[in-house]
């Protein structure tokens, strides 16, 4: 059973203190140490953490935690072939690599969304200008 995506309540305090000792034993500025410390801080604050091999397989419910969406939305992504999956018996399995690839595509959409939110005023001014049938040069000159 793979446990690529961990929830805070799946890890005990004892396990966390052993993890702390392990991190302390690693050399300062160790990349592995930083990755483990980052996962540890997330778990302590009740947020999920991912520790996984690139080709590890996860369940739709773990994928939902990784993507920060509901499980039904993961099934929608599987059914629309946005995320490849295969069956292991009666269960869907998703390769971690495919989740990472989906997240990379999603980042493009996220940037567009952030820019949409940030530039709402400019979009509104431009739509108003077009509704009013005022050319861009005039709008610019008059500061509309």
């Amino acid at each position: 059973v793979s446990h690529g995506v961990l929830e805070g309540d799946q890890v005990s305090r004892d396990e966390l203190s052993i993890l702390d000792e392990t991190i302390a034993k690693l050399p300062a500025h160790s990349t592995l140490g930083q990755a483990l410390a980052s996962a540890r801080n997330s778990l302590c604050d009740g947020r999920p953490a991912v520790i996984s091999g690139f080709l590890e397989e996860v369940s739709p419910s773990q994928a939902a935690k990784y993507l920060g969406v509901s499980r039904p939305t993961v099934y929608k992504l599987i059914n629309s072939r946005e995320i490849p999956s295969h069956m292991a018996g009666s269960h869907h399995r998703i390769v971690m690599r495919d989740l990472v690839a989906y997240e990379a595509r999603r980042d493009v959409a996220r940037r567009e969304l952030a820019e949409t939110f940030a530039h709402a005023d400019a979009a509104e001014a431009s739509v108003a200008r077009r509704l009013a049938d005022v050319d861009p040069a005039t709008a610019e000159r008059l500061g509309l």
Partner: protein, 341 residues
């Protein structure tokens, strides 16, 4: 359609600029720009007086005094306080009133301004004073903005009704044709789906979270669609960090986890007919500052591009982060990376 009596750009620039009671507006006027979004908001007593005396759809001129020394076109006297005098032209085609000239009353000469104005118009014609193409363009943009505000309100109402319908439907789904705009590529549909999943957990108040998935179909006008996206999101959850993008079927679905109490409120509003009467505001950023790679921040701030913070939040820097609390996730990661934890 029309607005309250408003100044012409010539009157603002040549007659009023120096006495506008706001230095920002003065600077805009001197740079040849409109001082504010609605010209009737120019901070000047005479502009204010004209806006109140010449209201939209006023057809009776009983309280108005004409400048009798000018036969054609007809100008009315404007006056406020002891000092400010002006001339108002009412466009016969639209009923729109324009403050076309203004000046000080000189000591001991009560009608000095009107006499000078009449002499100038009678000698040189009125064209210099009548509203210009630029004045009409500014007026049209103001009217378009008012129409957009009404349209955004209609969109918010459509969102509320769609949410209520989705709550009542067995699949948690509903879709609606969105109100159109008078530009090409303006027709579109909003589909909305509500998903309950116990794994989504609860918010700080202990309310169950429900996932809202929205998609806007068929709008081909990109700018109008952006405005629509912001309006739809803001009507439901006005905080930027509520929303995330989920590409699906070549379309970006927008997903938010919204407390069930908020959805119940919307449903209640629809049931009581208590629908939005104002346009929803912007989608606001959180009160947190984030850690972002220094090499990315300058370019993004100048170009208005999005950056990805080390906690994963994607946003366009648009607030001064000074004095804001640092995002707790960013703090953790920063601490871990510095090896000081």
């Amino acid at each position: 359609m029309g607005t309250a009596g408003r100044p012409t750009l010539r009157c603002l620039r040549e007659d009023l600029a120096g006495s506008v009671q706001d230095t920002y507006q003065q600077g805009r006027i001197r740079a040849g720009k409109v001082p504010c979004a609605a010209l009737t908001d120019t901070k000047h007593p005479l502009v204010d007086w004209v806006a109140h005396q010449f209201e939209v759809g006023d057809d009776a001129d009983i309280s108005r005094t004409g400048i009798s020394a000018i036969k054609h076109p007809k100008f009315y006297k404007a006056r406020t306080g002891k000092r400010w005098r002006g001339a108002v032209y009412v466009d016969p085609a639209t009923g729109q009133a324009w403050l076309v000239a203004a000046g000080y009353r000189r000591e001991g000469e009560p009608d000095d301004f009107y006499t000078q104005f009449a002499a100038d118009v009678n000698a040189n014609g009125a064209d210099r004073y009548l509203p210009s193409e630029d004045d009409l363009a500014v007026l049209r943009v103001e009217e378009a903005k008012a129409r957009l505000a009404d349209w955004k309100t209609d969109v918010a109402v459509a969102v509320f009704e769609t949410v209520a319908e989705a709550i009542e439907s067995p699949e948690g789904k509903a879709s609606v044709m969105l109100p159109g705009l008078d530009i090409e590529g303006n027709v579109g549909q909003l589909s909305l789906e509500l998903t309950s999943d116990p794994d989504l957990g609860v918010d700080e108040q202990g309310d169950t979270l429900v996932e809202v998935d929205i998609a806007i179909h068929d709008w081909s006008d990109i700018e109008a669609e952006r405005l629509l996206t912001v309006t739809v999101c803001s009507a439901m959850a006005p905080s930027e960090d509520s929303w995330d993008a989920v590409p699906m079927h070549g379309l970006t679905h927008l997903i938010a986890q919204i407390p069930s109490a908020r959805l119940a409120d919307i449903r209640q509003s629809v049931a009581l007919g208590d629908l939005p009467t104002e346009p929803p505001g912007e989608v606001r950023q959180t009160d947190h500052s984030h850690f972002v790679a220094a090499r990315n921040i300058a370019r993004a701030t100048v170009n208005g591009e999005a950056v990805v913070a080390i906690c994963g939040a994607t946003f366009v820097p648009r607030r001064d982060p000074t004095g804001l609390d640092v995002c707790p996730t960013c703090t953790d990661i920063q601490r871990a990376a510095a090896g000081s934890d």
